[in-house]
Subunit: 308 residues, 4 copies
């Protein structure tokens, strides 16, 4: 059994893809291979069934069988966070408890799309956590580009203050550098220290680490870069971390395109032998010939620079 | 077995609420009572598991058991449409087929939230209907206030032209009077005649009927008004239809408030003895004391005017 | 010279249209007639150059000449508020000062479109009022349907607490009944009493008055209804007020349609002999034949009911 | 006098900043220096008073005096495009004509914020160009991230087909790579060849050039990079172009952050001696100490890589 998530987590939590066969069926063999790949890349944890994990396109049965397969394969070697956002709070809570029972270190919840004011965000978390109960560690996913719900720092502060069980922020508002600095300053202002893992493919990772991020929670298809950048940074070599990052930046930027980005990410994982098919379930993007040629070029350029 | 939905449908398709117990559990006894109430009010059809039916807050098992209870109770007396919108197209198709197997007259699909351009709407329906197959009659739900996906008349035309299985428009863009006129003109422009049922609680029903609507698909808590207004109008008494409508307009307008409206509608149904509890599942609104007092006043005023 | 705006204002502040000739030129003769009409209808004040006044479609010179004509005609008989929202704060402040110099009772400011979080709203007003100076009374226009900036009650409270010069709320979030009750409760919670005038054509005016609104600031083309409803209500005859309101409700609802509503309003004013042309400047709606026939019907029905 | 804009334009059109003094006053001396700097960097054209030029925060008089200063300094050496987007079409047209009279090569128009459907976009351009007249060359600015108006390729095609005077697309939907390929294919599908200049700081410039872009119209603070990347690419050295681009990519990405990006861009221009102050007019961002330190690091890293 893994430890529960807490405010001091540091490092890389990889956002896992959900592998499908070419025909869209869940691909559990690839799931095993993908978990092994992530473990070998040195990540500190894993997050499954998030937005990039296509969770809402799985049936509840598929969610359970994918989740159990991941837990079986990670076998407690690293903590696993399970995304549980759901339009119905009862469904959210039921799935969260089944995840915790299966061995999750915590669950991730984003403000529900459609919340209009920040007071509604505060109330949403209050009611959701009342129904969920206080024993489940929670990651607050702050991703207004997708949820349509911007949350300012004072509102985040209030939600974190009200609910000690929320221990981590998945920080993916963009731009978000100043926000990160402001949240990191909470302990100097009578507030809590929380774990902050950054996202958006790591597009601003070196700057975010310098501003106090604890690491990254994102699904970039070369997780070894994320791991090594964080390692160098926390070993005191910020410039070396950024040097390595910059080598990968052209691909980070390319994979970070909204919508099509998930198809690119899965295709890179496929080309790297991690998963058997790059299929994204409908509705979702598929790469065409131009997209493939473009990716050929970017991956070849990356390989060339890594060889230098 | 009921007939399948077609382009010539006229009248009132009531949007059914999904009744819950005070504790949020599905209330199947109230479901029976509600179906009876709708049948007695004279509606021509029923739509279940739409946005106002809180479908995404049910588990798949609950959706099945609610759906089967409704089919058992309607017993083929009126056609039933089932809302099947879903973030995953495979889930959408599977549920649609189970609904058709259970006796549905058709299914209702809204453009998925997050579609950005109208070309994406065209492609979304093309792919969804390819996966669904051509034999399922479809209602296009045009509700940009909730989906965030505005669709112009030429795009609607293209989608309807491309897919003969889409036979009905749930027309609920607001404002929408001109749009209705433009769609009704399609047959004069080489296009199809489709069934157009209007929504938004019927807020502009008399004007919409005059512009060519075939009736209403909405969930106003006094369905007998919708039925009688349509009956008078189609019997040639447009002014009498509007006279009756205007008596109810203060309540129509009040129930038509976004968000809180569903709680008001369920409370009116509860007060009328139709359902046992006004509970809306979380996240969702609850009426407070002020809201109740306000509703008391509006219902009392309606009763007084009806008695006159 | 009129008194400056304060927290105790009550009654009807009519939102004035800006009359144009058929060719779009500013129509100052109609402006005089319109001011006279509003004065005769018994309104307590007037607001010019708001969103419904097409202010951003005037040149600065036109704004000045319209404004001066209005001030010349009102001649201090009623207070006039001037809308000054502007993408540039320096432009906003310069125009606000010219309005105050010309005799305005206060200015109206909406949160700038594009503000994403409520903290940004707080900061926007802080910076804007710093540049504007403390001597100009301000109306906060809370109209998220148009600005795209929802503001929750705690944020409104903070902005009003921070800036005593903001004395009035133009309340037009919809739905907004609960919000109104919450704001009205501020004095019981250590906060200020502010003037709250409701909008949205007055669509929920009777309910809003019962919840504590001080009146209406809206541009309904029959201002005499707004005046009489408020008069009856504040004279203790809430039911009589609502009776009168309900007679006009079909037209209120029709005029309240977004976009086309302004063309309808101007056309009613034209038919009533108030302005010479219903022209809305481009880009803007124009009524077509169907729209005119529809309006004929609604106005005839209203006349018939008033004659009864 | 410069030539008018046409469909065959290629190269870099720099988006000019509007320089202000520390106190926010228009800085015409810096304007001269900035124009010289852009000319020396080798750009092929210039665009002024766009969204990044803070046009809506200038008074009409300031717009005129800035515009005239730019024309005096460019002295016909390069074509200048003037942004004329405006909430009022009469204002738009009047300013466009004054720009053409002053020597502009064309004007740039974005779909007005608030347009909801793509049919409305079509109608907006039809009416605007009718009022503007057919002799003014127009750039269509496709920037849904800011305007909130997404426009699909078929709609763009229709607008370009309907209006030969629209000769260029400022392509800045993101992601936008596929869109670019689709538009470039128009001539093979019976459509027009138009000039396509890409934006978003050039974040995907190498990929966009490979997909057929004619160059860039963006305001990156190192215009010499944009110029040299385009030169290399059109000379047949796509890999060399991308090599150079990748050196600047960390700064491109940093400057490309929404909102704060303009302050970063102006600060880089200030540090490079181009403008006297980095002031952005209110409402607008100001860099704080952390932001400056961060920028120090990124600029130092760029210098170091350029020296290698």
């Amino acid at each position: 059994m893994t430890e529960k998530l807490n405010e001091h987590v540091r490092g890389v939590y990889i956002i896992a893809a959900t592998p499908f066969e070419d025909d869209g069926a869940l691909d559990l063999a690839s799931t095993d291979r993908m978990v092994d790949f992530y473990l070998e890349s040195g990540v500190n944890g894993m997050t499954i069934l998030g937005i990039m994990g296509e969770a809402p396109k799985l049936t509840p049965d598929e969610q359970q069988s994918f989740m159990k397969r991941v837990f079986a394969r990670t076998a407690g070697k690293i903590p696993v966070i399970v995304g549980v956002s759901n339009p119905g709070t009862n469904n959210l809570a039921a799935f969260a408890h089944s995840a915790m029972d299966a061995g999750a270190a915590g669950v991730m919840i984003a403000p529900l799309g459609g919340l209009k004011t920040e007071e509604q965000v505060v109330n949403y978390f209050a009611e959701t956590l009342r129904i969920l109960g206080p024993d489940v560690p929670v990651v607050f996913q702050d991703y207004p580009q997708v949820t349509g719900v911007p949350v300012s720092v004072p509102t985040l502060r209030r939600v974190f203050d009200d609910h000690p069980q929320i221990v981590m922020l998945k920080h993916e508002e963009a731009p978000g550098l100043r926000k990160l600095t402001q949240i990191r300053a909470w302990p100097d202002q009578g507030g809590r220290r929380i774990s902050i893992l950054v996202s958006n493919g790591g597009l601003h990772l070196p700057q975010e680490l310098r501003r106090g991020a604890d690491g990254a929670m994102t699904g970039f298809a070369y997780p070894e870069m994320l791991v090594e950048v964080c390692r160098r940074f926390f070993d005191g070599d910020a410039e070396g971390a950024e040097d390595l990052f910059d080598v990968y930046l052209p691909v980070v930027r390319h994979e970070q395109q909204a919508g099509i980005g998930l198809a690119i990410r899965k295709e890179i994982l496929r080309r790297r032998g991690v998963i058997g098919s790059a299929t994204v379930r409908a509705p979702g993007p598929k790469l065409n010939r131009d997209d493939h040629v473009e990716l050929d070029g970017l991956m070849a350029r990356l390989d060339a620079r890594l060889r230098r």
